[in-house]
């Protein structure tokens, strides 16, 4: 199936930071979570995909439309939920929708009103008076109203209370159910990834560390607990990340076929544990 989002060897320099050779794709019907420590390039990646930041090299294709040559057509199918306010703050949500909605050929004001009702967004209050959580919901309602196919979300759960966070996760699942739409979202909340993500893209210092489906990721690693000596005796190339505490030590090890210790005997770690150790491992190695 043709990818809805295809990023190929994307490079973008931003001051001292560089997104380097980023390549991945996302087919319709799937949810991809983008993770990484602060400053790893998650927001920059999403903004470069949206052409807010001009790419230096590489290509971004949305449903086959190149972002450089067919930006308008590409953006017609993108819905966004970003961590910054893009709506005009001096206007109400309804007026914003009335001004910016017509830019989208499939925009429907009734869907917008319905979505606002569902997400409990007051239509008659100026955007500047809305809380951060409601502004996030407003962006989501707007994305739904123009029948976006690819949803790009930057930390969407950040300002949401637990009830709406849960609702958002439910909405993401609903969106991809038909197999026509996809969601790519950045997050620090591994719990959300556990619930909805089909693929996980990990960034570290602007580079892709891996882009794997969740099942493969969990199968590729095992968590070993033991004494400090036992953990230190593990082959270095096998250890993805480790931690020593006063009472016990832990290490996340790779379980590739050539792995001599046959880590498969150990229980599979949780996603949150994998991500914790991988991020820790990258920081310790400095790569």
């Amino acid at each position: 199936m043709a990818a809805l989002l295809e990023v190929t060897e994307l490079t973008k320099r931003l001051g001292n930071f560089t997104l380097e050779n980023i390549s991945f794709s996302l087919a319709p019907g799937y949810i991809m979570g983008v993770i990484g420590v602060n400053g790893s390039g998650k927001t920059s990646l999403l903004r470069t995909i949206l052409n807010l930041y001009q790419q230096d090299s590489g290509s971004i294709r949305i449903a086959g439309f190149d972002m450089n040559t067919s930006e308008k057509q590409a953006k017609e199918i993108i819905g966004t939920v970003l961590d910054e306010d893009f709506f005009d703050e001096t206007l109400t949500p309804e007026k914003n929708a009335a001004i910016f909605g017509p830019f989208y050929p499939r925009f429907d004001m009734d869907i917008f009103r319905e979505a606002c009702k569902r997400f409990e967004i007051p239509l008659d209050q100026k955007v500047k008076k809305l809380s951060r959580g409601i502004r996030t919901r407003l962006q989501f309602a707007f994305a739904l109203s123009h029948r976006a196919k690819l949803y790009l979300m930057d930390e969407p759960a950040g300002g949401l209370d637990p009830r709406f966070r849960r609702s958002l996760i439910g909405c993401m699942q609903e969106l991809v159910e038909s197999g026509e739409r996809s969601v790519i979202f950045s997050t620090h909340l591994t719990e959300d990834l556990d619930k909805v993500a089909d693929y996980i893209l990990m960034l570290h210092e602007g580079k892709v560390q891996f882009c794997l489906d969740k099942e493969a990721l969990c199968q590729n690693y095992r968590l070993i607990r033991g004494t400090k000596e036992e953990i230190e005796s593990l082959p270095k190339e096998q250890v993805a990340g480790k931690e020593h505490s006063m009472y016990h030590s832990e290490a996340l090890i790779r379980t590739s076929p050539g792995n001599p210790s046959g880590g498969q005997n150990y229980p599979a770690p949780k996603l949150s544990e994998i991500l914790y150790y991988l991020e820790r491992g990258y920081s310790q190695c400095g790569n």
């Binding site: 230096d56 930006e71 953006k75 005009d88």
Partner: protein, 251 residues
């Protein structure tokens, strides 16, 4: 879309109303100070004590004190307008970068905004001087009018571009070579334009154009040079102003 831009500018106007009132008060105060200086010059040079600068006999219209008063107030008007321009840089609404538009459309929007602001701000300077001094132009003959208007227009042009220089400079070597346009707008061109304002007013004060009418040819050449500089700097800086990365991004 245009309604939104207009609305945003009106909201800014409302928000900064206090500053604008203060600026107008400053203008009126300076008008009186320079009028007093001009009146004192009349007393010293012509021995005329009571002078109504707005209703002088025609023979005094080109006299040095009147020309000095006019030049000072034109410069003050430009200074105050420059402040208005700096307070409201040309920027597209953020949402325009997310909705389905391409670079060409965004550039078109920013060019239209630039043009509208250029005409509006030039009109403001004209109104300031016209209301304060009774007339805007040093002389009502076609070439002096053209030169004065041209310098005024290019000065506003420069100021709008100056506020259009945003964001961080890229590390790209091509971009760095293009930063010359910014250096031109930020320093060389504005200094050149201010010198032109002083030289034009000074020329009238000293009566040079009556003695040497050929000087107007030099002024026309200077205007052409301004047009060349504007042509050199404008596309790059407006291109920058139309890019989200250069206007809103905090890198």
């Amino acid at each position: 879309m245009w309604k939104l831009i207009l609305r945003r500018d009106l909201a800014n106007l409302q928000k900064n109303a206090g500053k604008y009132i203060a600026s107008i008060t400053l203008y009126v105060a300076l008008l009186y100070i320079f009028a007093t200086i001009a009146a004192m010059s009349f007393l010293v040079t012509k021995g005329i004590g009571e002078v109504d600068l707005l209703n002088l006999p025609p023979r005094y219209h080109d006299s040095p004190p009147v020309m000095f008063w006019k030049m000072s107030m034109i410069l003050v008007s430009i200074g105050i307008t420059a402040y208005f321009i700096m307070e409201n840089p040309i920027r597209l609404p953020k949402m325009i970068y997310l909705v389905p538009t391409d670079r060409n459309k965004r550039s078109r929007y920013i060019r239209c905004m630039f043009l509208a602001k250029l005409l509006f701000m030039t009109a403001i300077i004209y109104l300031f001087v016209r209301i304060g001094l009774g007339r805007f132009f040093y002389q009502y003959r076609i070439v002096p009018v053209l030169v004065q208007l041209g310098i005024c227009l290019f000065t506003v042009w420069n100021l709008i571009l100056k506020t259009g220089v945003y964001g961080v400079s890229s590390n790209n070597s091509l971009e760095e070579s293009r930063c010359r346009q910014e250096a031109f707008v930020n320093f060389y061109w504005i200094v050149y334009l201010l010198l032109q304002q002083l030289a034009l007013g000074g020329g009238f004060m000293l009566g040079l154009y009556q003695k040497y009418p050929a000087l107007w040819l030099i002024w026309l050449a200077i205007l052409v040079s301004d047009a060349v500089i504007a042509r050199y700097c404008t596309p790059y800086i407006l291109g920058k102003a139309a890019a989200y990365e250069q206007t809103y991004a905090k890198i």
